[in-house]
Symmetry: C2
Subunit: 183 residues, 2 copies
DNA sequence: ACTTTATATATCAGATTGATAGTATGCATC
DNA sequence: GATGCATACTATCAATCTGATATATAAAGT
C-alpha cells in the first residue's frame, strides 16, 4: 500500500491526471497519507511502465499535454491483491512528541509556544474537516465517511489530551540544567 | 527535527553507542518516531563529521569495536536551536485508513480481517505501554510521561472509534461492483 | 546439532519529502 | 504597465528514511 496503490484506487472512480490526483491527496488523503508531485509522477510512470494504468495525452493550448490516466484490467488485479493485505500499517511520525521528550531542556516559553501553535493547528484542521466534507457527504463512500470520522474523533481526543496535560511538561523541571536558555 | 536531532537529545542523558540508541528508539520513541540502523548510523556519522558529537572506539573481544558517542558543545548549541522550532510536525501515514477509503472494493470478510487484526495490534501496543513504562516512572522525565500518556490516550480513543463505527464500512455497499472477490 | 536471541557494526535499493523549475493565463495590487 | 500571486500542468533532484540484508561471535534454549 504505497502511493502507487492509492493512485490505482483513485482511478477506479474514473480517469484522472497527476494534477487531479494531487488535489485529491490534498483534500481527502492529506491528513493520513500525504503525497506530493515528487511521489505521484514517478508512481504513475512506474504504473504505466508495468501496464497497470494507461494514459492519453490530451493537448492543451499553451500548456503541457494533460496526461489522463485510466486503470487497466491488470491494474485492477494488482489493486485487488493489495486490498487483500490483512495488516496495513498505521504510523505516526511526530517531531512534536520527540521534542516534548526533551521538554526539560526547553524554556517554559518555548514549551508554551509549541503547545499553543499545535492547538491552533489542530483547530484549523478540525474546521477543515467539518466544512467542505460535510457538504459532499452524499457523494462520499462509506469508507470515506469512516475515515473522515476517524480523523475528527482522534484529533479531538489528541486536542483534549494536550489541553488537560500540558502542565505536566512544566512540572519537575526546576533542578534540571537548561541548555536552551541562551538560544 | 530529524533522526540526527533526536540522537543529539538522547546523548544529553550520557554517552551511548548506535546500538544503545536503537534500543531506546524501540522502547520509548518507537510509536511516534521510529528509526532503524539504516538511519541511525548515517546520522551519527554525519553528526561526527560536523563536530556535533565525538566518539571513542572501545575494543571488544570477538565483536566489532563499540563506538561510544558523546555530545559536544557545538552539538548542544545545535540541539538548542532545534528545540527552538515553534512548529514541530505531527504526521500520520496510514495504509490502514487509505485501504478503508476503498472498503467498497473489498469483501466483508477482508474488511473484518483487517479490522480484527488492527484491534489486536492496538491491544498489544496498549499492554506494552502499561507494563514496562509504569515501572520506570520514577526515572522518567516529565516529557517522557507526557508522551507516554499521549500514546495511551490517543490509541485508546482510536480503538474506541473503530469498535463503535466499523459497521459503517459494511453499510451501503450492495450496489457497488466488487473487484476483490476473486483474490 | 540447530535455532533463536543478543551484541555490534554497516550498507543498499527503493520510496518519500520538500524544494525547485519551466511555461502559460488571468487577476489584483501598486 | 509592471509586479506579484494563484491556477493549471508537467517534471526532476538532493537529502532522507525504510526495511532488508551482511558480517561476526557467543550464550542459551530445544
Amino acid at each position: 500500500m504505497d502511493v502507487k496503490t492509492v493512485c490505482l484506487g483513485m482511478l477506479t472512480d474514473g480517469p484522472a491526471s497527476g494534477y487531479d490526483m494531487k488535489k485529491r491527496f490534498e483534500s481527502c488523503f492529506g491528513h493520513f497519507f500525504a503525497a506530493g508531485y515528487g511521489s505521484i509522477y514517478p508512481a504513475l510512470a512506474t504504473l504505466a511502465r508495468n501496464g497497470l494504468v494507461e494514459f492519453e495525452a490530451v493537448p492543451q493550448e499553451g500548456k503541457p499535454d494533460r496526461k489522463v490516466y485510466s486503470i487497466t484490467a491488470e491494474g485492477r488485479d494488482e489493486l485487488s491483491a493489495s486490498l487483500g493485505n490483512p495488516s496495513p500499517t498505521h504510523k505516526v511520525r511526530s517531531e512534536f512528541l520527540a521534542m516534548m521528550c526533551f521538554a526539560h531542556l526547553m524554556t517554559e516559553e518555548q514549551i508554551d509556544t509549541v503547545l499553543d501553535n499545535k492547538l491552533a493547528e489542530i483547530d484549523k484542521f478540525l474546521a477543515l474537516l467539518d466544512e467542505p466534507c460535510n457538504r459532499e457527504r452524499r457523494t462520499m463512500s462509506s469508507g470515506a465517511g469512516f475515515v473522515a470520522g476517524f480523523g475528527r474523533h482522534v484529533t479531538s481526543s489528541l486536542r483534549k489530551y494536550i489541553e488537560e496535560n500540558r502542565d505536566m511538561l512544566k512540572a519537575g523541571r526546576g533542578d534540571e540544567k537548561k541548555i536552551a536558555a541562551g538560544g
